[in-house]
């Protein structure tokens, strides 16, 4: 990247800047969740996380569709797609977990525990689960359950961030060594166009608008210069 001119050598050199913005968003989510521990109010975290998931999902889907699927006979491209599957699964598991009612979390947890116990046979599981749920609702109470769920949630959010980080690092290396040297500039621009403009959305510039709120002034200029070429 020629920073002094704020123009990219290759359109796909924008990728590390996009990844940096995604990672910053993930770190913000993590901090937001950590600060929600005491109040246990997840509304704000949920709102930010939904945006992150939307951005990430759009980004990796566009990469699969317009970048790697165009490269046949490349083990690197297939590895990249596999990592996208793992990211998608992890993010959607987290979303499902987040949407789960506390009572469902507790019931699943109790059943898992009963199965681990060697004091009951299979027929007794339902009866024992009901008894335990009754006792727990009287003794431990919702705050304790919520504590456990918050810890579990936090672990999942950190795990997703590290998964993203590992993937972005792999992908940037793949792009710089295998894609950029072998792909003409206009083809790269076409991919970038799909990454930045969501044609399926009424506001196709929503990703660019979000990036502008996350980039510093130099990165904003780089992005603006690139947009002029699209």
């Amino acid at each position: 990247m020629k920073n002094e001119k704020l123009i990219l050598d290759n359109p796909l050199d924008i990728m590390p800047l996009l990844h940096k913005a995604f990672m910053t968003q993930s770190i913000r989510n993590e901090l937001l969740l950590a600060s929600s521990f005491t109040g246990r109010d997840l509304v704000l975290f949920q709102k930010h996380f939904e945006l992150s998931e939307r951005l990430l999902t759009y980004h990796i889907n566009a990469e699969d569709l317009y970048m790697t699927s165009q490269i046949l006979d490349s083990p690197g491209a297939r590895v990249n797609e596999d990592e996208h599957v793992e990211l998608r699964d992890t993010a959607s598991d987290l979303t499902a977990f987040l949407g789960e009612a506390d009572s469902t979390t507790l019931e699943n947890y109790v059943q898992e525990t009963i199965l681990a116990s060697d004091h009951t046979n299979h027929d007794e599981i339902t009866e024992t689960t009901e008894d335990i749920l009754n006792i727990l609702s009287q003794t431990i109470g919702q705050p304790r359950i919520a504590n456990r769920k918050m810890r579990d949630l936090y672990e999942r959010v950190v795990a997703l961030r590290f998964l993203e980080s590992d993937h972005f690092e792999n992908e940037e290396s793949f792009i710089s060594t295998q894609i950029i040297p072998n792909m003409p500039r206009d083809k790269q621009l076409e991919i970038v166009k799909h990454l930045l403009l969501d044609q399926s959305c009424l506001n196709s510039r929503w990703i660019i608008e979000w990036l502008m709120t996350r980039f510093d002034s130099d990165d904003q200029k780089i992005l603006n210069n690139l947009i002029l070429l699209l």
Binding site: I114, A116, S117, T120, T128, D131, I135, R144, F162, S165
Partner: protein, 212 residues
């Protein structure tokens, strides 16, 4: 299940062990978050080994003495419905087993990272992140375990044992009869507490000395 402060039992000293384990976990998390590319793992490896030795000793002693005591309280081999104590005991036994397995697995995961990296001269970002996540996961599994003990195990055992029995449980948790340095665990706990708590556990140490 929680008892009032005025109902303190001998076994409540177990919270010192919990405090030391929690402090160590938090310190180690902070240390790994401070790691930078190019650093080496010597300090982390030592701190982790020390924490895990204490944690594993505690897990084994809890299983062997505290949970065994609970098992004896369970009436009959099978579950009998509508029995408050039996239900709680079954819940705790399953939970303890689940949490212990989870902690041991996570300890293994961290050791695999440390053993692969230990020979290398410097760390890379990816290893640091894997280490951060591994230690965070172990800290969370440990917290689930300790919290369950505080909620279920300790109140139950206090209810169903006298002070002398409880002192014996503490002896097994704090004194390693199979080690050359039998007091290494209690020394480790003392080394991770503040001065007020150190004074309290030193009093306990003197009571345990009379038992040994």
């Amino acid at each position: 299940m929680r008892r009032r402060d005025s109902e303190n039992s001998t076994l409540d000293h177990i919270t010192f062990v919990h405090k030391a384990l929690r402090t160590t976990a938090s310190e180690l998390i902070n240390s790994t978050y401070r790691l930078k590319t190019g650093d080496n793992l010597k300090g982390i490896n030592l701190a982790f080994t020390s924490w895990v030795s204490a944690l594993v000793f505690y897990l084994e002693a809890s299983e062997k003495y505290l949970e065994q005591h609970l098992k004896q309280l369970l009436h009959g081999r099978n579950y009998i419905g509508n029995n408050y104590n039996n239900t709680l005991i079954i819940w705790f036994m399953g939970l303890a087993k689940l949490n212990r397995t989870r902690q041991l697995k996570r300890i293994d995961d961290i050791f695999s990272i440390l053993h692969v990296e230990i020979g290398k001269t410097s760390l890379i970002t990816r290893t640091i992140q894997h280490l951060n996540l591994g230690i965070l996961r172990l800290k969370i599994a440990q917290e689930d375990y300790l919290e369950t003990q505080e909620e279920s195990l300790i109140p139950l055992i206090c209810k169903h044992s006298n002070s002398t029995q409880q002192l014996h449980f503490l002896k097994h948790i704090l004194i390693d009869q199979e080690s050359e340095d039998r007091k290494w665990m209690i020394k480790w706990v003392i080394g991770h507490l503040d001065s007020t708590n150190t004074k309290l556990i030193s009093d306990l140490e003197r009571r345990l000395d009379r038992l040994i």
